[in-house]
Symmetry: C2
Subunit: 346 residues, 2 copies
DNA sequence: ATCTTGATGGCAATCGTTTGCCAAAGTTTG
DNA sequence: CAAACTTTGGCAAACGATTGCCATCAAGAT
């Protein structure tokens, strides 16, 4: 009712009898005007319910107060925590969050970034499908932080799932599993490749045979294909690219009458929403997802402020831990599918 | 690399030898300039990789090309589909989506809306906690569309879960359940109240006794309290405010050794991510959530364009359907907790 | 008493785009 | 052929804030 025409800086100037520039300074550069006038101006601003027009501000100052967060698929539960983390931290710093769904396409991602580079002060790429060179090039134009993607020259926060993979492997080995298989995720996922590499290394360390099925696209529904492929191996324990896939695998195994963890064990990755109440509850590598979002924002914001100062481009690594639930158990004494195991213990 | 200083409309004007105003018109009002010059200008724009500065545009035209979507909690899976729906439709219309988490607080919601009213052309309120009068007042200032909230004068899209409640009730009755209880959700939820009302009406229609426990706050963890409270009633079938609560209830029942659906049946609401793979898979009222998001955007956008034309404020109602999974089954012949049932069949 | 200096506030340009208004064409009509 | 329109393009004023530069004034130094 009250706000017919929005209150501008000029209205405040008129009300207090100073120039618009003084109002601007009083509100933004505290030291630049005398305490007395500043207080008068602040009072008037409050009184008139003044809200700065960010468009106008952006036009002259060049900063928009908006940070874009790009996710490859808003409906992927992995991003829930991430989004919440960024949201928290951004709000605390007075920034708005522009959420963009790149639909898992690198081109789409690049186009969005180009189209919107003027709308935002910086961007957080939570699952970039862009090649390294494009990323590095983009980073030269817009302040960027990547999550779970490590590119030289671009600050990043990565969740150290690869290290966690060692833990998962160890866990399965300690349960007596000798043959372990990995359900490989999408080729375009950096995390997937990193996890696979880590796992291969772990297998080598323990001298275990190790297979891989896939790649499988993102999404729970492909768990069926993955489960079938996994059952075709001689493995008794499966590690899935992520929880979504793992849950899909669990569902399919149940359909096919394979008991978990009686016949086979399953380990997921990320500990997303649902991992704790699926059937059976999933043993998984718990990632500090929300924290990753917060850290990514801090990183970005620190780069924004001291843009001219030292480059301070950092890569933050966040540790994970293994959460053991009911989907893993001792290896079956006799493999249900094959009994061929004449090989010595090691 | 190429884009040192961003290309402006003036650059194009210079390149083609026309005035900036002509460029603006060529790009925005196709009919206003001759086809020949327009083509020349478009070519130049393409050539120079021109990206309009939305801030400047917003400043003079008053429209920002941004729509805010307010959710009460980004991590609530209910919003996943919604966000995806709005995202789709907004992108198609060339708008950007500004996602805002109101943290389930009406004050926070109002403040955000106030602070950001200049950043956006309109807002979609997916779970407003604001009182009716505030909402109506706000709608006078900013184009608004509500989801699952019906306020006079504010266009809305509501998912007709109440009608679906009838279906759920019927389903349980047909399975032989005579005593049904509702796990009441948060008081500040409009949907919750609407569902409760519908259920009461259904109970009356069927002449069944009907109890209610709660209210319970939002969130899965409160399912434990709800389950305990429900077990304290003589009901053999439970309907939960939403799936999140239902899943929590399921978890607790399992803990307490109550079999579902052997001992009691459970019905949820919304069919969120997870409802199909929890243990046991949840019978629930499937809501067209994603569609709701899309419709909300269309509604809002249509209001934006014809602001001066007929008011055409509408309320769209989306139907739901019952998805029967494994959490509901025939009523137990003999209640496990009580055997007192001397009453005649009806 | 004069000069320097620092604090304070105002003027005016600027950011990039849109849009009302006007002028110069070209086109139709009587 | 003149009058009356229609196109088409340009000028210049917004939009609301920021900021470099200058003017003023008071206090301190000489």
């Amino acid at each position: 009712m009250r706000a017919q025409r929005p209150v501008t800086i000029t209205d405040i100037a008129k009300a207090t009898g100073v120039a618009p520039s003084t109002v601007s300074r009083a509100l933004n550069k505290p030291g630049r005007v005398s305490a007395a006038t500043r207080e008068r101006i602040e009072a008037a601003a409050r009184e008139l319910d003044y809200v700065p027009n960010s468009q106008a501000r952006a036009l002259s100052s060049g900063r928009t107060g908006t940070i874009a967060v790009l996710v490859s698929d808003v409906t992927n539960p992995f991003y829930f925590g991430l989004i919440r983390g960024t949201q928290q931290q951004l709000k605390a710093a007075g920034y708005a969050q522009l959420l963009i769904d790149t639909e898992d396409s690198g081109e789409h991602e690049a186009e969005m970034l180009r189209k919107m580079r003027r709308w935002m002060d910086g961007a957080i790429l939570t699952a970039s499908r862009l090649p390294e060179r494009s990323l590095a090039g983009l980073a030269a134009e817009i302040p960027l932080v990547t999550v779970n993607r490590n590119v030289r020259g671009v600050p990043s926060v990565v969740i150290d799932t690869p290290a966690g993979m060692g833990l998962a492997f160890e866990h399965l080995v300690s349960l007596g599993h000798r043959d372990i298989a990995y359900a490989y995720g999408p080729e375009n996922s950096w995390s997937n490749r990193a996890r696979w590499q880590a796992l291969k290394a772990a297998a080598q360390r323990y001298g275990r045979t190790f297979e891989r099925v896939g790649p499988f696209p993102r999404g729970r529904m492909f768990g069926s294909a993955a489960a079938d492929a996994l059952l075709n191996t001689k493995a008794t324990a499966y590690i899935a690219f992520n929880d979504l896939l793992a849950i899909g695998i669990l569902t399919r195994l149940r359909e096919r009458g394979v008991r978990v963890p009686g016949d086979v064990s399953v380990v997921g990755c990320d500990d997303i929403f649902g991992a704790d109440f699926c059937n059976p509850p999933l043993t998984t590598l718990t990632a500090p997802i929300e924290q990753a979002g917060r850290v990514a924002v801090s990183l970005l914001l620190s780069h924004l402020d001291v843009s001219t100062a030292e480059p301070q481009r950092r890569a933050v690594v966040l540790p994970t831990h293994l959460t053991i639930r009911d989907s893993t158990g001792p290896a079956p004494q006799l493999t249900i599918r094959e009994s061929t195991d004449p090989a010595p213990q090691r």
